[in-house]
């Protein structure tokens, strides 16, 4: 089974993952009193939450593939939030994104100077940047907008509807909206798939589209080009790269600056596309969650996206779930997922994991049976709990770049 899956092309494997995920949601939904698990707004919110998480995680990928641990992503994201908002207000939406990227890159440059040139411990430098970045943005906001935490309204880059599938227009001609038609048929499962897909394809921010295109681009850049090979050798065995005449320091710098730029784009997306203004604290730890998505995704672009979508789904569901019924249904989804983990651990004869997963799964099931709704604080907490659980069960299966986090000194 597993071998057949892994012999498939990546896009087909992804389709199967997505289809079975939606199937699970549909089954759970048909035995609980909510229809929010597969609503169009749920997948739209999922994507909106996932994009900054993914961009931060992808930033982490560039940096850590080159051997520099980047805890400072959160700070770079915050810099991107501020500079994105400022650029958007001063020069317009696209300039805002660009300036946000530059803001994140400045954070990346600082991290590179500290870790690569001065060989400061990567985590210490990252923590310092996470403390410095909100300080800078508070000061700048106070001076520029007379308020340490909020900016005026920003401009948006706009959205796009995919033609035919989600009723987008081609040269002024309005194409049919097939997914809308399909979701109105109310066929079990099929309509759910249609609704969720429509949420991803209708009024999609251009930034989201760029972010999604970055997955194949990153795969190509990091795994199919000479640049990527050199970048990865910095994170695996820098001494070997040096022996081949590669300028390790330069590649590390480039990687960490790209990393900051991606986190900056994620930040600019938060302020200009999501909230429509800069607001201190709006990052909601998405830089850190991006790091968790990076680990979850085993330092691969597709995996990072999957992790970001997973966390984004849980956050996004919470946003539209005022009466707590959808989060209640999520308990059952969690219970089934934990049962799956337990079965997987059992097949590998890992007793402790089996027991732990079963116990947690039974707990989730019991809660689902006893309660009708869950309080909103639980849905706020769930994403973080899921991050922890994923790390608990899978972190020993993951492989990070071999020289990740190690100081590198030329000639030594």
């Amino acid at each position: 089974m597993t071998s057949r899956l892994s012999s498939m092309p990546a896009w087909a494997r992804w389709m199967i993952y997505a289809a079975s995920g939606v199937l699970l949601l549909t089954i759970v939904q048909s035995i609980s009193d909510t229809d929010r698990l597969t609503q169009i707004s749920t997948s739209r919110e999922m994507l909106r939450w996932a994009v900054p998480i993914f961009l931060a995680g992808l930033g982490g990928l560039f940096s850590e593939r080159a051997g520099v641990v980047n805890i400072g992503l959160e700070g770079m994201l915050i810099l991107g939030m501020w500079f994105g908002a400022w650029g958007s207000i001063e020069y317009g939406a696209w300039w805002g994104l660009l300036i946000g990227i530059v803001g994140g890159m400045i954070g990346g440059l600082l991290h590179a100077v500290a870790t690569v040139t001065f060989q400061v411990d990567h985590i210490i430098s990252g923590v310092a940047i996470n403390i410095l970045a909100p300080a800078i943005t508070r000061y700048l906001s106070e001076e520029v907008w007379d308020s340490p935490t909020t900016s005026p309204q920003t401009a948006e880059v706009g959205t796009w509807d995919v033609p035919f599938l989600a009723g987008g227009t081609i040269f002024g001609w309005e194409s049919p909206d097939w997914l809308l038609t399909a979701s109105k048929w109310e066929i079990w499962y099929l309509s759910d798939v249609a609704q969720l897909s429509r949420g991803l394809l209708r009024s999609t921010s251009w930034v989201s589209i760029i972010a999604l295109l970055l997955v194949p681009f990153t795969v190509w850049l990091v795994w199919r080009t000479r640049f990527g090979l050199r970048l990865r050798i910095c994170g695996e065995k820098p001494a070997a790269g040096e022996a081949q005449g590669i300028n390790i320091i330069r590649y590390k710098y480039i990687a960490v600056i790209i990393s900051g730029g991606l986190a900056g784009l994620g930040g600019a997306f938060i302020s200009t596309e999501l909230s429509g203004l800069f607001q201190g604290g709006n990052s909601a730890g998405r830089g850190f969650i991006g790091l968790a998505a990076l680990i979850f995704g085993n330092w691969r672009p597709g995996g990072v996206l999957l992790g970001a979508l997973l966390f984004g789904y849980v956050f996004g569901l919470d946003l539209k779930d005022l009466d707590g019924t959808a989060s209640h249904a999520m308990l059952l989804v969690n219970a089934i997922a934990l049962a799956g983990v337990a079965a997987w651990a059992f097949s590998r004869r890992r007793v402790a994991d089996t027991v732990l997963a079963s116990a947690l799964g039974v707990g989730a099931l019991c809660w689902w049976l006893v309660a009708d709704t869950v309080p909103s604080w639980w849905s706020n907490t769930l994403p973080y709990v899921i991050v922890l659980l994923v790390l608990v069960f899978f972190s020993q299966r993951l492989r990070m770049p071999a020289a990740n986090g190690q100081p590198y000194r030329k000639g030594g």
């Binding site: 805890i71 600082l110 100077v113 500290a114 001065f118 060989q119 400061v120 985590i123 210490i124 430098s125 923590v127 310092a128 940047i129 996470n130 403390i131 410095l132 970045a133 909100p134 300080a135 800078i136 508070r138 000061y139 106070e142 001076e143 340490p148 730890g285 850190f288 790091l291 968790a292 680990i295 402790a352 309080p375 909103s376 604080w377 639980w378 706020n380 907490t381 973080y384 709990v385 991050v387 922890l388 790390l391 608990v392 069960f393 972190s395 020993q396």
Partner: protein
């Protein structure tokens, strides 16, 4: 000689650079730096402001020691924030339920806070030892769970309890009895100074913080445990070969760190009298900054805590004088941290290079003595 010069050059260099950067930041937005610094310094020269600075430095210092315990064995407890909040909550809740004679009441509250803080930190320790989960990520997630989950949940519960009638002053846990509040020590300070005005109270937890600093120093430098801890930090493989159980050390360091983090909750409880709906946030991260700035050294951290508290408190006056934005203080905190971290790194490298060349020279000299 050069070694001493180096270890002094790093903080001085960081300080000079910070002043340059913040001066530029002030000039960039048309503020007068001389006026701004002057206002801050003259404000800080008042006794009442100094009391505020000491009150602010106390939680900073405890938070720094909590972080430093982990740092000394390369364990990054980023979760001081969450540990302190959870400890604060439990201490306030339990302290509000009981009434005991003063000494006992305070003792119970302190023990509860330390136990809860250490258990919450221990969670991250267990995840690391049993499952290899990186403590940086797990403590950050535990922070989010404490803030986004626990705090949000309590707020809902409190609001539901009081219906429409709630105000921010009625929310929170039950206020604890007078006997549970750690006493203030104005009298102690007034021995040396004039009477403290404006109703300012100097927190007695300052003494506990000093005690924690002394104990931290003794523990690290005078005990077996401290040696094991430092050895695990410097070279985990050698430490393991030397018979130091790595997993037990991780767990012990994490829990000790969490216990100290819990004490921050006692400081805040003495100040607020209950667990309020808006507990001060960010103390954990500022503690990490103080620990990094003070190089995990008890004296250095005390200095750094006072510096951070000075910047925080004295910049408050800028609101009324209007010489600059008070946010310049956070800029200075951030810049001094980053530059100090880099400066220490440079100083370390230079020292290592010195040591290497000294060793090489000594080796050469030895060879020359030995007859060929």
């Amino acid at each position: 000689m050069r070694t001493y010069a180096l270890s002094l050059a790093a903080p001085v260099g960081a300080f000079v650079l910070t002043v340059i950067v913040s001066t530029l930041a002030l000039l960039a937005f048309g503020s007068n730096p001389v006026e701004a610094y002057g206002d801050m310094l003259s404000h800080a020269s008042k006794l009442e402001t100094q009391v505020d600075i000491l009150n602010r430095a106390t939680p900073f210092y405890l938070s720094a020691v909590a972080a430093a315990i982990g740092f000394r064995m390369n364990l990054f407890n980023i979760g001081v924030e969450g540990q302190y909040l959870v400890a604060f909550l439990f201490a306030a809740q339990i302290g509000g339920l009981i009434s005991l004679p003063q000494v006992l009441h305070i003792l119970v509250i302190m023990l509860v806070a330390m136990a809860v803080g250490s258990l919450y930190a221990g969670l991250a320790g267990i995840l690391k030892t049993a499952r290899g989960v990186n403590e940086v990520i797990s403590t950050i997630m535990l922070n989010s769970i404490a803030v986004g989950g626990l705090l949000a949940w309590l707020q809902q519960e409190w609001q539901a309890e009081q219906g429409e009638a709630f105000t921010s002053t009625t929310l929170g846990t039950n206020p604890i009895d007078e006997s549970g509040l750690f006493p203030t020590i104005n009298g102690l300070l007034e021995i040396f100074t004039r009477d403290i005005g404006q109703g300012k109270q100097l927190t007695g937890m300052l003494l506990i913080a000093i005690l924690v600093g002394v104990l931290y120093n003794l523990l690290l430098n005078r005990t077996r445990f401290g040696f094991d801890l430092r050895a695990s930090g410097i070279n985990p493989f050698a430490a393991r070969a030397g018979g130091i159980p790595p997993k037990r050390m991780v767990l012990a360091a994490m829990m000790l760190s969490g216990a100290v983090a819990g004490l921050i909750g006692v400081v805040e409880l003495a100040d607020r009298g209950k667990f309020p709906p808006d507990p001060i946030q960010g103390l954990g991260f500022q503690g990490i900054a103080v620990a990094l700035l003070g190089r995990n050294n008890p004296g250095g951290m005390a200095f750094a805590a006072l510096l951070f508290a000075f910047l925080d408190v004295s910049s408050g006056v800028l609101d009324s004088t209007g010489a600059a934005s008070r946010e310049i203080a956070v800029i200075m905190q951030g810049v001094v941290l980053l530059t100090a971290v880099v400066a220490y790194g440079v100083a370390n490298r230079l020292r290592e290079r010195d040591e290497a060349s000294e060793a090489a020279e000594a080796l050469l000299a030895e060879r020359e003595v030995v007859p060929a």
